[in-house]
């Protein structure tokens, strides 16, 4: 266990010094700052106002950019170390592959999760300072959803990283997965439904397996119980189960998905040539 924490700690320290982390933190912190500067908390759109409105906008943007940020910054984690022979040296010490791999995952998880959650905390703290009502239910839901979303894409990224030979290929695959999942949030799903090539159950199934769609529906359904801005897929999903059950699934499923991919990645890492 000592080595696991050591590797997580060193990976975290290394990441915190990296330029990508500065950009990553600035993007999420900057978004919140921009919303305050733009007066989002004073605006009212479709009944959402104040901090709720700000958090809604934050989460809508996060749905799109968080997965790609996690994928591109993490997907080179192991493949990059393999590429430039860091893995060859670091693994010449008596550290088990299990400790190395999972230590890296823990370190990287903290790195990618902290800025997004920290930006929300800043928003809430600043909102409270300005005397706004704090929507705690939304805050805690988003904390859980962001945790789940980060787990899912971190697991996928480590899975890709474990089997690709070069970091360029890893990046290419990461982009493809992001675009693919993004397309299945709306564009592809809606076009499939409109063409009526597939039955409703299949469409719902496709939506449910996509962690980005789960995240989106769970994040927005709290604001929009009538689902006026959500589209038909969300309506079908929430028609077949209660909102509470769906929220629990939308947090549990991405975490499990992330763990599954991370575990598959570990098995590949263990079975393949290391360098």
């Amino acid at each position: 266990m000592k080595n696991l924490y050591l590797i997580a700690y060193l990976d975290l320290k290394e990441s915190l010094r990296a330029k990508w982390f500065v950009v990553y933190s600035l993007v999420f912190g900057g978004l919140i700052a921009l919303f305050f500067i733009a007066g989002v908390t004073e605006s009212q759109v479709m009944g959402f106002s104040g901090l709720s409105r700000l958090l809604l906008m934050y989460i809508q943007i996060t749905i799109v950019i968080l997965p790609i940020f996690i994928l591109i910054t993490t997907v080179r984690s192991i493949s990059g170390d393999r590429d430039n022979h860091i893995l060859e040296y670091m693994l010449s010490f008596p550290i088990s592959l299990k400790q190395y791999y999972w230590g890296k995952i823990i370190g990287r998880f903290i790195t990618v999760y902290l800025p997004v959650i920290f930006a929300m905390i800043i928003a809430v703290a600043y909102g409270a300072f300005k005397g706004a009502d704090i929507p705690w239910n939304i805050f805690f839901l988003y904390t859980g959803l962001l945790f789940a979303m980060s787990s899912a894409f971190l697991g996928i990224a480590f899975f890709i990283s474990s089997f690709v030979k070069s970091s360029e290929v890893a990046l290419g695959i990461a982009f493809f997965i992001w675009i693919f999942l993004l397309a299945f949030i709306d564009i592809a799903l809606i076009s499939l439904m409109m063409q009526q090539r597939f039955n409703e159950e299949l469409i719902i199934f496709i939506a449910l397996v996509n962690p980005m769609e789960m995240f989106r529906v769970a994040a927005i359904s709290l604001f929009d119980p009538e689902l006026t801005v959500m589209g038909p897929v969300a309506f079908y999903i929430l028609d077949s189960m209660s909102q509470t059950v769906f929220v629990l699934i939308s947090i549990g499923y991405p975490i499990l998905l992330g763990l599954l991919f991370a575990f598959l990645g570990y098995k590949i890492f263990e079975k393949k040539d290391l360098v």
């Binding site: 000592k2 080595n3 050591l6 590797i7 060193l10 320290k13 290394e14 010094r17 990296a18 430039n84 022979h85 860091i86 060859e88 040296y89 670091m90 693994l91 010449s92 010490f93 008596p94 550290i95 088990s96 592959l97 079975k271 393949k272 040539d273 290391l274 360098v275």
Partner: protein, 212 residues
């Protein structure tokens, strides 16, 4: 100490090691030579347990380095040909090694000092920001401080100036007893005073193996 039995490693259609058999024992200093692509690095990486062989096996004191890598690597020190661009600071790198491999940090400092590398002055600097020679000195200091029974050097003096090479050979002389020293080299004259066995490889096979 190291037993290589019928070891074959292929990468696609290319055969990198072709039924290699050999044994390296205590008090042997071996120069492993051969042209580029002869299979030297593949052999070393197989000893370190990085490659899954297509046939045959490597045993270190009777233990398979893939199945029990932690146990095997406790007894091996390795210095690669090119120092990798590790982003950890020297302090963090020493922490990784002292905690992960139970290497005495003071001993690393001692050997670094012997190699004329001032670790204290660069303690918070990223390893990859050091000069080529400084990186190599640091890796050599770590390899000696680890007090392993098997020391593997892949062209260890490539980045060192003549003075640093002398320091390196002096320290090795003091630390070679009861060990297996394995040098991958293209320049035999540099290590010929240290080695007592020369192995030539070509096209994945050992073509010559003689004691000197």
């Amino acid at each position: 100490m190291i037993k290589i039995n019928n070891l074959t490693k292929k990468f696609g259609a290319h055969i990198s090691l072709d039924k290699v058999n050999s044994e390296f024992n205590k008090n042997e200093s071996i120069a492993l030579m051969g042209a580029n692509g002869a299979g030297k690095t593949t052999l070393i990486r197989s000893i370190l347990g990085y490659y899954h062989p297509n046939e045959g096996e490597v045993l270190i004191n009777g233990i398979n380095p893939i199945k029990e890598r932690v146990k095997v690597l406790e007894n091996i020190s390795f210095v690669p040909q090119l120092p990798p661009p590790i982003k950890l600071s020297l302090d963090e790198l020493m922490q990784y090694i002292s905690v992960g491999a139970k290497v005495d940090r003071d001993l690393i400092m001692h050997y670094a000092n012997e190699m004329k590398l001032d670790v204290s002055a660069n303690i918070n600097k990223s390893f990859f920001k050091l000069s080529g020679g400084m990186k190599q000195k640091m890796l050599i200091a770590i390899s000696l401080a680890k007090k392993s029974d098997i020391i593997i050097y892949d062209e260890p003096t490539a980045n060192l100036d003549p003075k640093a090479r002398d320091d390196f050979y002096r320290l090795l002389k003091q630390n070679e007893d009861e060990k297996v020293l394995l040098f991958v080299t293209h320049r035999l004259e540099e290590v010929k005073d240290l080695v007592n066995r020369q192995i030539y490889m070509d096209l994945g096979k050992i073509v010559s193996d003689e004691k000197v």
